[in-house]
């Protein structure tokens, strides 16, 4: 029975016993919201305890001098000595292939394929830079051997020292050992163009530290997508390494009341295959809680919280059409600014000085073009059934409108769709106006004598010609820039209940959901004619009784006077 019946019933009982009408509907019982209790139970058991202390293994005690020549695969070989299925498992996953495992391989979806975004556009011909985020060693061009078990990088996901860094432009390898001539036995370090100095890892220490991935492991890549901290997702950045509950209730530290979840607490993993949304494929196909199926991944909010998590029925009424994230993530990029606009067409101006915005972020980089950053951003809301469109360099685009490179699929009339928040990154991105395809730039120079890389020569035509021919995609030789949009579901940075989006932020005339048409929403919608006629009628009634009353008064004074 719905709550208001109970409240009304109570009220009547109260009234009948001559107590004033009271409305217990106002007593909130969130502390015991059923979804909270369910989730607490679902996460009560801890992970299976570790039964091996890796610091005791002789195999991982490398000779301190010998290990100076290590590049990485030496350690992997040691891991595989015991974990002899690990690379076989890992080779099948998207973390290794960078290809969508489910869609038609002909479409080449995946950044290891031909998928285009409006950040650094695409991987092909830029591998050495991009694959610093590949969990492998040496993917420097399209000839990389994806079947070599020893080029899997176990450490980047499993090491726990926090001191293991891959060098940004070395195809996934950490910096090599370079001896400091002035301090023999010490490293000089290798400097990246940003000024940051990278050192060769102490392979023994790093290898012995391994454990289950924590947030920082995943964050090494996922916090820095798009070429820097917080650039890409808006809801994933290094502030989630050590968040408090205010930033994310699940990942927040225990002291602040959070749950200290690692990523893999929700992104549950089977044989190195990590649950999550992949290109056009939803994270899960069915909305089920663990109560219904305890073997399914815990990737959905509903997996643990069920689909009726609120104490208030009215709130539960929403869960069939509104994703939890829509109300529980009021804004993204709450700590670090994220990129909202990237205009490649402005790149290459050597005279333009970057201007810093109020958060200290530059509006311009000669290599990349013009940016707009924003912090604490209200998401856009769209119908979403869990799948996204993707655009590859072979897909035809319509340059007369904004090109939706990655966009949520779903609609009001699709029963599996819900209203979901998104970060939408917009910008101007190179394309081929003759073939009407997106164009792949060769950005990162492969060496000193690279004559086509944009970041060395600042010549778009050469850069695009090389990028396209490298990827084997036809290119007319013409190029221009087209406005693009790239959407990311906003799903992290779940705020405490006190900070949720208030009802009227959507249930109001120009609220957050003003752009979603095709259905009636209380507080937002009205038939203007009814309102006009209604208010005219009310005003008419008021005026009529006012005049009537006035006339009565006048007539009376006249009669009596």
């Amino acid at each position: 029975m719905k709550q208001q019946w109970i409240h009304a019933g109570n009220a009547w009982c109260a009234l009948l016993t001559l107590v004033v009408l009271l409305s217990p509907g106002l007593v909130r019982a969130d502390e015991n919201a059923p979804g909270r209790l369910m989730a607490r139970q679902a996460t009560m058991t801890s992970h299976a305890p570790i039964t091996a202390d890796h610091s005791k293994f002789e195999e991982l005690k490398f000779d301190p001098v010998e290990q100076r020549s290590f590049k990485g695969p030496e350690v992997t070989r040691a891991c595989l000595g015991c974990h002899n299925q690990a690379s076989i498992q890992f080779h099948k996953t998207i973390h290794w292939t960078w290809r969508d495992p489910i869609s038609d391989p002909e479409r080449k979806i995946g950044k290891g394929g031909l998928t285009v975004n409006n950040f650094c556009v695409a991987v092909p011909s830029n591998e050495t830079r991009c694959t610093s985020c590949h969990a492998g060693y040496g993917w420097k061009d399209k000839d990389f051997d994806f079947n070599n078990p020893e080029t899997v990088d176990c450490l980047v996901c499993h090491e726990q020292t926090g001191e293991y860094d891959k060098f940004p432009t070395m195809a996934g390898y950490p910096a090599p050992w370079i001896e400091d001539p002035e301090n023999p036995g010490r490293q000089l370090g290798k400097e990246f163009s940003s000024g940051k100095v990278f050192y060769a890892p102490n392979w023994s220490e790093v290898a012995q530290s391994v454990g289950r991935p924590d947030r920082t492991n995943c964050g090494t890549c996922h916090f820095y997508g798009g070429g820097g901290d917080a650039v890409k997702h808006g809801d994933l950045d290094s502030s989630l390494s050590n968040p408090d509950k205010h930033l994310d209730v699940h990942m927040g530290d225990k002291d602040s009341g959070g749950q200290e979840f690692a990523c893999i607490r929700c992104h549950t993993t089977k044989a190195h295959d990590i649950a999550g949304r992949i290109y056009s494929n939803p994270a899960v196909m069915e909305r089920k809680s663990l109560v219904e199926n305890d073997l399914q991944p815990k990737i959905m909010c509903e997996s643990c919280h069920t689909d009726s998590p609120h104490a208030a029925q009215k709130m539960n009424d929403h869960t069939d059409r509104v994703a939890c994230q829509s109300c529980h993530i009021p804004t993204f990029a709450r700590v670090k600014p994220t990129k909202m606009w990237w205009d490649w067409s402005k790149a290459g101006d050597k005279d333009r000085e970057p201007v810093l915005d109020e958060n200290g972020k530059p509006d311009y980089v000669k290599k990349k073009g013009e940016f707009v950053w924003a912090k604490d951003v209200v998401p856009e809301y769209h119908w979403f059934n869990g799948a996204m469109t993707t655009t590859t360099a072979e897909d035809r685009i319509d340059p007369t409108a904004e090109v939706l490179l990655q966009w949520p699929i779903g609609g009001r009339n699709d029963p599996n769709s819900r209203i979901m928040p998104f970060k939408v990154h917009r910008g101007k991105t190179p394309y081929d106006p003759v073939n009407n395809t997106m164009a792949l730039p060769h950005l990162f120079p492969t060496g000193k004598d690279d004559t086509t890389a944009y970041w060395k020569n600042f010549d778009w035509r050469k850069s695009l010609e090389h990028g396209m021919s490298y990827a084997g995609v036809p290119f007319s030789g013409e190029y221009d820039f087209v406005e693009t949009a790239f959407a990311y579901p906003t799903t992290h940075m779940v705020a405490p209940k006190d900070n949720v989006v208030q009802c009227e932020e959507c249930h109001s005339r120009n609220g957050r959901l003003a752009n979603l048409a095709g259905f009636y929403m209380p507080g937002r919608d009205r038939v203007q004619a009814i309102d006009y006629l209604g208010w005219a009628g009310v005003a008419g009634s008021v005026i009529a009784v006012f005049i009537h009353g006035l006339l009565r008064m006048l007539a009376r004074t006249r009669r009596e006077g």
Binding site: K2, Q3, V545, R552
Partner: protein, 217 residues
Amino acid sequence: MTQLNMKRIYLYSKFERFWHWVQAVLITLLLVTGFEVHGVYTLFGFERTVDLHATFGISWVILYVFIAFWLVTTGEWKQYIPTTKRLLEVMRYYAFGIFRGQPHPVQKKREAKHNPLQRLTYLGLASVLIPIMLGTGLVYYYYNELTMNDLGLVANLHVAGAFLILMFYVVHVYMTTTGHSLTAHIQAMFTGWEEVEDESQVEDWERADKVDNVTSP
């Protein structure tokens, strides 16, 4: 005003007065919260106001069941049988006579509490407008359970009805001042006793059949 002999008659039984005032309070609160839901102003905040509105709405549904039961079992429903007889006279009275201090053409009587204009209005209210409000309100309330595709029709009917209720409300409150004194009608609804001019007989056409069933003081 012609001062005729006044006599006190008992018009409104305890339960009638009770439901009238509770209904008045509920309608007031429903209007206040309903138009906040509609986005006209902010008072309680959307979440609270929706909750309150539904609680008041459900309270009214419950009350209405009792009212309907009372009307049927007491036979009081006959007070609402519509008539056009002397309807024009009543209208003429409110349009002209009232300013000249003429007496009301239809006296209130135990057996005929409402003049023909009131009968029509209250009948329309009780049998059309209120059921529409309760009906659309309940559908609105159970929208999710009913797995309807769109709220639009129901919500717009509910809003249109709300405007009509508000118009009625304005006129109704004003009309309470048209008794032989400004507060006579209101007092009557509190005490049950109304002072009327002791002048005429109840005519047969006005007489409710089962007057005996009307509760006495």
